[in-house]
Symmetry: D2
Subunit: 305 residues, 4 copies
Amino acid sequence: MNYQAILEEIEKEIQALFSEGKVADYIPALAKVDPNQFIMSVRLFDGTSFGVGDVNSKFSIQSISKVFTFTLALHQYGRDLYQRVGHEPSGDPFNSLVQLEYENGIPRNPFINAGAIVTTDTLVSIHKKYTFKFILDFIKKVANDDTITYDKDIYKSELENGFKNFALINMIKSYNNIHNKIDTVINTYFKQCSIMMSTSQLAQSMQYIANHGVNPLTNERLISISKAKRTSSLMLTCGHYDASGDFAYKVGLPGKSGVGGGIVAIVPQKMSICVYSPKLNAQGNSLIGTKALELFTSKTGLSIF
Amino acid sequence: MNYQAILEEIEKEIQALFSEGKVADYIPALAKVDPNQFIMSVRLFDGTSFGVGDVNSKFSIQSISKVFTFTLALHQYGRDLYQRVGHEPSGDPFNSLVQLEYENGIPRNPFINAGAIVTTDTLVSIHKKYTFKFILDFIKKVANDDTITYDKDIYKSELENGFKNFALINMIKSYNNIHNKIDTVINTYFKQCSIMMSTSQLAQSMQYIANHGVNPLTNERLISISKAKRTSSLMLTCGHYDASGDFAYKVGLPGKSGVGGGIVAIVPQKMSICVYSPKLNAQGNSLIGTKALELFTSKTGLSIF
Amino acid sequence: MNYQAILEEIEKEIQALFSEGKVADYIPALAKVDPNQFIMSVRLFDGTSFGVGDVNSKFSIQSISKVFTFTLALHQYGRDLYQRVGHEPSGDPFNSLVQLEYENGIPRNPFINAGAIVTTDTLVSIHKKYTFKFILDFIKKVANDDTITYDKDIYKSELENGFKNFALINMIKSYNNIHNKIDTVINTYFKQCSIMMSTSQLAQSMQYIANHGVNPLTNERLISISKAKRTSSLMLTCGHYDASGDFAYKVGLPGKSGVGGGIVAIVPQKMSICVYSPKLNAQGNSLIGTKALELFTSKTGLSIF
Amino acid sequence: MNYQAILEEIEKEIQALFSEGKVADYIPALAKVDPNQFIMSVRLFDGTSFGVGDVNSKFSIQSISKVFTFTLALHQYGRDLYQRVGHEPSGDPFNSLVQLEYENGIPRNPFINAGAIVTTDTLVSIHKKYTFKFILDFIKKVANDDTITYDKDIYKSELENGFKNFALINMIKSYNNIHNKIDTVINTYFKQCSIMMSTSQLAQSMQYIANHGVNPLTNERLISISKAKRTSSLMLTCGHYDASGDFAYKVGLPGKSGVGGGIVAIVPQKMSICVYSPKLNAQGNSLIGTKALELFTSKTGLSIF
């Protein structure tokens, strides 16, 4: 299939949507990006890449980082992890806190903030003050790029404005489901959200999941086949907050969005994809990114269904 | 692959689980089945079938009927249907009614009771008093069997004990999202739940979804490719109530369970499956049926992820 | 104190509010009343009465009937009643159904619809098909008027449009907290809501509660002192749905409102009051009626606090 | 009436209840009190006092402090305060956080933790770092005792274990309903909860509320008549968390409990009462204290209803 031609078609078709959506503005550092960007990368297992827009331009990965920390926690804890975080879709945002109260501090899944904070905590139990370094080293390895780092302004902005996340972590701690100091965990969490990557790097970084646990570039197995499949499953059912069902319905691929405007997706055993466009829809996912992926599976027939 | 051998292996491995779970007892007519049954059917597009147990023994399909009515409603209304029923996972059972209140009578998806009642109502708007006949005729066609009918005792039992469903339909009606008389809609709904089918018939009846809308037996297109894929997607994200995420995570196939003990599943573009075992887990899905499907994808590697 | 002069002052002061609020329109029969009415009656234990407006004009008492059925049920069951209905304020309307689910079909208190349906059911268990007659006879006695009856059009309208109440009763039945046939209970409930009374009759009918259980007109004890006080307490904490706290805060008297536009209130050991004005505030209580009672306690200093 | 004799009767009758209930143990400093204490003080406006037990023994006042901070905030802001905190009962504990989400960070009333944190914040806006001194000075004045102070161990314990309160304040801050630094507000809040007082001091300190705003000892007006009555109303409808309705129903007096085991109550225009017994019922109120007050109003007929 001529993927490059398809990406270029998509780029044309989404132009009409630039008037819609709204860039995340809950922290000043995110609000200042150019709203009318569209970048998309596709990467096959043999290393062939396709792209439109500036595929080396970096943006804040935000919740896409949850895929990496979940992989690491699942690798280290296996099914013991499920006692501290579930794997069910969370319903709607309104439920986030009541769900925690109702279910005694066990977050519904690792791809909502509450759940990602718990998976970060499980890593802090092992790697202590080196946890962020450990996470970043893993990302550098799977993205095949040693230069990746986090943005200090965004990190500081998150710390100063992240009252809802402070509320969540204190709530979970009150149920004894945070085992380390709140400051250590939340600092690590905010740093991982502030990591800057390009669509090219993110597409590369998802190869190990698409390829059932093995990075095709190095042939290194990072997680077991079964855990790679389960990560994919979780991306499908829980990857887009309360629009997860809609994404599965319209796009039909495992994916994970970030409020910074990026979305990663995989076609199992075939390829990985990353799209970036910072304006968000009402559910906090990239509006044009979601549409672009819908066009991609329509044009290629690559939905998993 | 030797599917028959795999089914026989599964049959052996699940024996140890017969002590767990509990047959549905909310209506007397369901409570009286033999609890220790296990039946499983697999059907390929060329008509080859595999099975263990009495694959012609019939049971109440219950919520599996929601797949057929959704297909019919989606076929007739297209995206207009989404204004009356969503396609997001519903979170947990606790939320069912509060969700209806919070979202003004729009059920979260067509595979929870509230949503299926609305899809039945959309069919009643068209087919009036012939709606149940219309639904049953469709099922006879896709199952390739003219003898299928519903069980009058179970139907009567549902009517007499279905207080929660009466609560739901009245609630939705109060938001003007039921357009026909409550009695007509609920009678049709309870009849479709009381239809009796065997694993062999149900496996056959799911072929058109697995085969992207075309019944491979007759080559008749019943719904568009896109609608078949969307039905599959919905089965994956919403097919097992508040254990949908867990089913996707462990089994990795689109499926739909019924409280009667049946589960259907599909491998897109490959095959359809039906398993029956009446004891249920805490979420109301067949306990052994779920385990059998997990073993099936482990042994065959046929997960969609 | 010159109560007549105070009522006339209040009548003047509330004129400015006639532009606000909205008559109940959930059933056609209620929507057709003249919106700009204001009637108020005060009655002392010696029979002296004061009034402004047409104190003999009748209106639908709606939820004010809940005071009578609660009194009757409390009289007959005593503290056993608390196992079927609580006496805590219900928070907000949003919670009505989720609260029932969360608390297994035990309504929070007898002054919300769910709770009043249960108290009616407890009376049906004793009085069977004569329950409505039994309730009406009690009201005739405490109001000292044999001509009181219900409005058949309003009753029919309730039956045809009361989907939320049908949802509630079915929900409660599913938890086995309705012991009689749904039709019998709901018909009785809708009839009691459709009773027509004037402010003069309602003020008289509340005398036994204000006078600690004894009708001062006849010296007949209808309930014990303790049960009369408890009814008053419930009127204070739960009498105005999710504006109960606000009513207690601003008016400072036990009261009960009905969606028909009436509010009854009592000054313990002193007098009873009824006000009528059909336009409602956002919480479904008479807007001008609430204000008039606030003015009344400000001017007389008769708050219980 | 012979109040001393009544108190002694009550003391005898409650002995049988010492086996029930459980001392608060969410912080170690509270868990170590002697569980089987019972102390009760009654104070009339002329200064006459009655008591059983060691009426000068001090305990942690905890949520009773909310009455003082609410009085101060109401005095300073008047009805503007209602834009930041409501005056409706909160329903049940389960709803605490969901209610905040649903109502955009406006706590239901000032006697739940969320609401008391907001009233403290309104005081911090005026008194800055002197806020705790300002609150303590007010308490010293109304209790007529300059030696009152807070317990540093309890304060430290609250700070170290108060994760739920940290969750609440961050949640409210995310809705911009906390105007000052979280640390300043929460430190002040925890200090006020850690104040130590005796039943004798607390009974004295409630005189100004019972006496419609004037301290009868000094004849100083502290708040207006209307604000004193409104504080009483709030104590009745919201003073005992999700057992507020039950307390109003059984005791029939405005009151406020603290998790330390104290309960204050007033008889409007007559007297103030304080009871202490540290074992709590399921709703977190003093089990024996509640029973003692129920006996008190039964024996004296002093319920407000």
